[in-house]
């Protein structure tokens, strides 16, 4: 179908082909696309509001009477061999088409109604600025609650007779175009810098990745970027600690490691005291020195890891003092564990590595070797505990009935081996002495 419009001197002709003619071999007219029929109808007969059933019936009768043609259902009678009665499949198809068409029609009517309601809202909002009463009565409650009444205004605009002001227009255009150019130039510089910074950042991230650290993509609400795992959960640690640090990029493209919460500073220190003149005197001390320079990100990660390890170690030790309280091990001030053993006393406490006061008598005393050995042993025992946890996790869990007692207190994995190994020799020797005395006493008899 073609339409002509007379705006200016142009005539618009549609290049759409007209809809195909009815396939004459079909005995039943199938419902064509509503998209084609409805505009055709509205063109030929005007708006639907004028079409009623009565009119249609009258038209059909007129058509029949005038032309003497058979009723439209039998458009192509052809010869008697063609079935006059439509087959069942045709009827089914027809019904399906009909239902689809009806569904389409109701959908389109709904859409039209929606659009009419929207136009009504628009017009009433316009009116409400001039005549508030008339406007508000026809506005929908939804619009009234969202838009204040009278907030849309109109004015009549008479298009001025054509004034072509070359100088002003040229000036504005050149201004606009040069502003665009400047914007591009500035953006180019800025984005080039940004790309440089990104490049530097990613080079540094790659350095870390190549060393075998585990990276991950963080999707926290306030940070989306790369993160690195410095915790031991994969190694079997059950300490409550997320163990993941964010790798942020600061203003000049450098990598900044940021751990969650406060940075740790405590390190375990082992001190050996011997009784001297009735008092205990420190004869040796040892703690792991963690250098605190924070320039290289790799050392920062290692540092975070070491400090986490120390933290967990002291946590386990403090927990186990309760279990081994029968051996005389005490915990005082929340950070000092005292182990009285025959012949010496071992004190485990946490010290702050920022505190430089302890650098004095670190390697001096004669028993510092023992202290170092104890320190190393404690670290190794914690690793052993981790591995044990990992094995327990990997093994097949026991059936539900036999898991009646959970290991709340648990065994002392770290202090007990230490205590036993340190104390076994003196105890054994004193026991041997006792037995030897008893035997000699019995022999004399």
């Amino acid at each position: 179908m073609s339409a002509t419009s007379t705006s200016g001197d142009d005539i618009f002709v549609s290049l759409e082909p007209p809809p195909l003619a009815e396939d004459p071999s079909q005995t039943i007219r199938s419902i064509r696309n509503l998209d084609q029929i409805i505009p055709q109808i509205s063109l030929e007969r005007g708006p639907f509001i004028n079409i009623t059933e009565e009119n249609l019936r009258k038209e059909i009768e007129q058509l029949q009477n005038r032309d003497g043609l058979p009723s439209p259902e039998e458009e192509n009678p052809k010869d008697e061999t063609t079935t006059v009665k439509p087959s069942a499949t045709d009827i089914a198809q027809f019904e399906e088409d009909f239902n689809n068409a009806r569904a389409d029609l109701s959908r389109l009517i709904g859409a039209a109604q929606n659009e009419a309601a929207i136009s009504l809202d628009f017009i009433s909002l316009l009116i409400s600025s001039v005549r508030p009463v008339a406007g508000t009565t026809s506005m929908s409650p939804h619009l009234k609650s969202h838009v204040p009444v009278g907030s849309l205004g109109t004015d009549r605009f008479r298009p001025q007779p054509y004034v072509e002001d070359m100088s002003v227009c040229l000036g504005w255009k050149t201004q606009a175009v040069s502003a665009a150019t400047e914007r591009f130039a500035k953006a180019a510089g800025r984005l080039a810098e940004e790309a440089e910074r990104e490049k530097k950042y990613w080079e540094q991230v790659e350095e870390i990745a190549v060393c075998g650290e585990v990276l991950s993509k963080m999707r926290m609400p306030d940070y989306r970027g790369m993160g690195v795992r410095y915790g031991f959960a994969d190694a079997g640690s059950t300490y409550k600690e997320k163990g993941i640090a964010t790798l942020r990029r600061n203003a000049d493209g450098n990598l900044v490691l940021k751990t969650e919460g406060e940075k740790r500073t405590k390190v375990l220190s082992v001190a050996v005291l011997r009784p001297l003149d009735g008092e205990h005197v420190r004869t040796g001390q040892h703690f792991t020195k963690i250098n605190y320079d924070s320039t290289d990100v790799k050392t920062e990660i290692k540092q975070a890891r070491d400090l986490l390890f120390e933290d967990e170690l002291f946590f386990q030790i403090a927990r186990e003092t309760r279990i081994l309280a029968s051996q005389g091990i005490t915990l005082s001030f929340g950070n000092k564990v005292t182990m009285p053993l025959p012949g010496l006393q071992v004190v485990l406490e946490t010290i702050d590595i920022e505190d430089q006061d302890n650098s004095m008598d670190v390697d001096g005393g004669p028993d510092s070797v023992i202290a170092e050995a104890i320190n190393v042993a404690l670290h190794l025992l914690l690793s052993k505990l981790h591995r044990k946890n990992l094995e327990a996790r990997r093994s097949i869990p026991l059936p539900l009935g036999s898991r009646t007692h959970t290991a709340d207190t648990g065994k002392s994995e770290i202090l007990e081996p230490l205590v036993t190994s340190l104390a076994v020799a003196p105890i054994k020797s004193s026991l041997m002495n006792l037995i030897a005395d008893l035997m000699s006493a019995l022999k004399e008899k």
Partner: protein
Amino acid sequence: MSNPAQQSQQRALTINQRINEAANTIVLEYSAIIALAPVSGKDRTTTATEAYEIECHATSIVRAIEDLLMVSRSLKESWILGQVSSSFQVGDDQT
């Protein structure tokens, strides 16, 4: 729970889409600016509105380029997490 191959395929598709979209935007907006440039035969109102339109198109071009930067960043993220099948293998070179 799609397997890694499907996921990487999906990612490749998204990234290609974004790149295409950004490139299209840049070309379209730029040609729109060029189309708005001629000054003959228009009155003042039209010229003023067109000046504003040119500014809008310029801004969307810059935004499209920033989107491309974001695309490159997400590519780098996927690459370093080993989700890109290439010759880069972490730790294999250190022996």
